[in-house]
Amino acid sequence: MTRRLAATAVPLLLVTAGMALAAPAPAWAAEVFLEVNPSTVEAGQAVNLRASCDDNTKSARVESTAFAAPVTVEPRYGLLTATVTIPADRNAGDYSVRLTCTGGQAATTTLHVLIATRPTRGPATGFGGTAPGDGARLLVGGGLAAVAAGLVLAMVAARRRRAGA
């Protein structure tokens, strides 16, 4: 009997303990956050940081191995913001970015870094199977010439008729 009681009591205790721990967590999470915009960037380009702590009148620290040095986000419009340039020598990959508030709360997000690749030449995406041959060009040229000849002939005919009348 006592054993059974203990058996039911332990999970109950765990559930209540879990609830007590879990309950305040969403409230914290809603207020403490970190955003990187854009969240995908070419190495060498800048990103904007937008963060929020419990107290947004005090600056906070944002760290990442993608940055050259830790960044301080400063109060602005009720949030904490900063702009940081990703050094051009960073490798492509996903970098964790971590916010640490003065109160000790923290938030993380991910920054995706790419290597700038801007090929100067467009890709070769055709083998010419549907390319127009010389025939098409001849048709257009000949057709335009025929139209011109027809119009000249019509003008000549009209003038002749008028002169003849």
Binding site: S39, P123, L139, V140, G143, L153
Partner: protein
């Protein structure tokens, strides 16, 4: 020259009778030949292009997705569906296209963003093979506002809306516009167009500029 007319009345009459129909015949034949020639050339001139709106501005609000490789592309208005494979750079420094034996598939440039991430996801496809049309042959007829759906490995579907369809000389691509827009998730579909130079390939690229407007699934 009042006398000139009366010297050979029969000749003048005969010429007067035939010049009118001949002129009409020549003009009709000319218009027909020109039309047929332009039809064969394709791309150079299309009725749609004459009435084209300059382009559709991208939306102010847009979703952003986490990275995931593209696996399929669908363009309902062209009745186009194709698998997507990853491609890198070709020997000449341009983006590689899928090999000829896989010309019905398209290639996603795997050094750029995936479709739905911030930045330009680039997908290239062949316009034709040596003998006939290929997967992106009809790309130049795509209109602003059309939908392009890219299914990704995480099974989400990134839905893009075409902003504009443009053509550039291969050696003069506006690289900032094509590769440099990281302000939102965008898509660039690239194929060939313009004049075909034997031994060198097509002189131009047709590029579809599109922006992410929605997502679906999984």
């Amino acid at each position: 020259m009042p006398n000139g007319r009366h010297e050979r009345p029969s000749a003048t009459l005969a010429r007067g009778r035939w010049t009118g129909p001949a002129a009409i015949g020549l003009v009709l034949a000319g218009v027909f030949a020109t039309g047929a020639g332009l039809g064969q050339m394709g791309g150079g001139l299309s009725w749609g292009a004459l009435f084209d709106r300059p382009g559709k501005p991208p939306p102010r609000e847009f979703p952003v997705l986490e990275p995931s490789r593209p696996v399929r592309i669908a363009i309902p208005s062209l009745d186009l569906r194709a698998p997507v494979i990853a491609v890198g750079l070709a020997g000449d420094g341009s983006i590689a296209a899928p090999p000829l034996e896989r010309h019905t598939e398209v290639g996603w440039f795997d050094r750029g963003p995936t479709p739905g991430q911030f930045g330009p996801a680039i997908i290239v496809g062949h316009a034709d093979t040596r003998t006939g049309p290929s997967v992106f042959h009809a790309l130049r007829t795509l209109r602003p506002g059309a939908a392009v759906e890219v299914t990704r490995r995480d099974r989400t579907v990134a839905i893009f809306e075409v902003s504009s369809v443009e053509r550039f000389a291969k050696v003069r691509l506006p690289s900032d516009r094509v590769y440099g827009d990281f302000s939102r998730p965008v898509l660039r579909l690239i194929t060939c167009g313009g004049r075909f130079v034997p031994g060198q390939g097509y002189a131009d690229n047709v590029i579809v500029f599109a922006s992410l407007v929605g997502t679906r699934g999984p």
